[in-house]
Amino acid sequence: MAIDFGYSVSQPRAVDLDRNDLSLAREIVREMPEFSACIACGGCTATCTAGNLTSFNFRLVQTLVRRGEYAGAYAEMNKCMLCGKCRLVCPRGINTRGVVRLIKRKLGDY
């Protein structure tokens, strides 16, 4: 029987690449190689229509997904309106709308 001392062990917020399952991230990059060309400039997030109205942050979600932190990614991506403004400003020419749809398709279970 575990003793309750009145506090619990704080969970780390660090991303642990050794423990995370990166197979889905690799699958996403394999299906859409341009995803790995992202330089995380944040242009997509700055122009995001949904981001003006909600806490949606495309750059954050794509960074987490590439590091194997899938929890909540699907729900976040549901905030996207698929307007495509981000695609217009992306300096690497990434089909960002396509990335959103791919992440939703792959990470529906998370």
């Binding site: 575990a2 003793i3 001392f5 009145g6 506090y7 619990s8």
Partner: protein, 354 residues
């Protein structure tokens, strides 16, 4: 070109005639360690002045913002005055918090001479005392390190075949790197002792991570989860290397690495030792004392949360298990309740069945 960059990592340690500044928390957590230090020094023939008049350095109060800096400076100035009156010039400091604080205050006085003047005035007004600044300040682990070869020559056993995790207190050299042997990058004070006495130092990924002590992190109950998380990070990192014991030179590190193992065993049913029990945590005086053949119970090793008997067996120490909880004149001092951190995995299965 003369390559002398390593000199930056060296430290001058006085050879004899120390004024001993004890630690308030060590006397509670590891009550035998300071006595053991004095015993080692006596065996080495060194002159150490143990002054009953000196007080706490106020370090914990200072770091938790309840003692103002001027008060702390006046208290530290009084310790220096006691040292001056006793005719000593070398300070041997038992606690890492005190060591960091004394170093910080001397550095502050150097950078801002008006603060030293103020401390001198405050001390004189309050106590009528005056002081000279110490010529040499060393932590007592520095002094044991300094004498490691002499201790090896007097040793009755060595640490051969044992894997040792060493942990240096943050305030030893992370505040002022030049104040520690090896600085903050290559701290060698404990590793040097372990290697000199035949042990193998474990170099594991989180070796330099904080132990989780951090005054504000454990004094406030709501923050304790953060404190224990730091200890767990270290314990998880060292576990695969199967260390036989840990050694620390800071009272907080030794206490938290020891006692959080108990808490983690009770909260999560997890232990980190290779045999399914906890990993014993020693102070450097206890490690030196075992090498010199001192009795573990005389050194106060029964006060540890994680039992030290498995380590004593590995070292071949001849100890009396029945005398563990007998204090002075054979008086029974009380034994703790059985804890998960001290039982084999087999014991735990048996306990669950019950």
């Amino acid at each position: 070109m003369v390559l002398n960059s390593w000199r930056e990592y060296e430290k001058e340690i006085a050879d004899d005639r120390y004024y001993y500044a004890r630690s308030c928390i060590r006397q509670n957590f590891f009550p035998g360690s300071e006595t053991t230090f004095l015993r080692i020094m006596r065996q080495l023939g060194k002159d150490v002045y143990d002054d009953p008049r000196h007080t706490s350095c106020t370090g914990i109060g200072y770091h938790t913002d309840i003692v103002p800096l001027d008060t702390t400076m006046a208290v530290v100035a009084r310790q220096f005055a006691l040292m001056t009156e006793a005719g000593y010039e070398n300070m041997a400091i038992s606690c890492i918090t005190s060591f960091g604080l004394y170093t910080e205050i001397l550095e502050t006085w150097h950078e801002f001479p008006e603060t030293e003047q103020r401390a001198r005035e405050n001390l004189f007004k309050a106590t009528g005392r005056e002081f000279r600044k110490p010529k040499n300040i060393a932590h007592t682990s520095d002094i044991v390190f300094h004498n490691r070869e002499a201790i090896r020559q007097m040793a009755v056993r060595d640490l051969k075949g044992l894997k040792v995790v060493e942990h240096i207190g943050c305030h030893y050299a992370k505040i002022f790197p030049k104040s520690g042997i090896g600085g903050s990058e290559f701290p060698y004070v404990l590793a040097g002792m372990v290697e000199a006495w035949g042990g193998q130092v474990v170099d594991y990924p989180e070796r330099r991570h904080c132990c989780g002590f951090g005054f504000r992190n454990y004094l406030v109950k709501a923050n304790r989860g953060f404190s224990i998380a730091n200890s767990r990070k270290k314990l998880e990192s060292m576990k695969p290397y199967k260390p036989d014991f840990m050694v620390a030179n800071c009272p907080g590190c030794a206490m938290f690495l020891d006692k959080w193992q108990y808490a983690l065993a009770e909260m999560e049913n997890t232990t980190y030792g290779a045999d399914g029990r906890g990993i014993p945590v020693l102070t450097y005086e206890e490690m030196a004392g075992l090498v010199l053949g001192y009795d573990p119970w005389e050194m106060g090793m029964q006060m540890h949360q994680v039992d030290v008997e498995p380590l004593l067996d590995k070292l071949g120490v001849d100890y009396d298990p029945a005398a563990k909880f007998l204090g002075r004149a054979g008086k029974y001092i009380g034994a703790p309740k059985p804890a998960g951190v001290n039982s084999f995995e087999g014991d735990r299965i048996y306990r669950i069945k019950n």
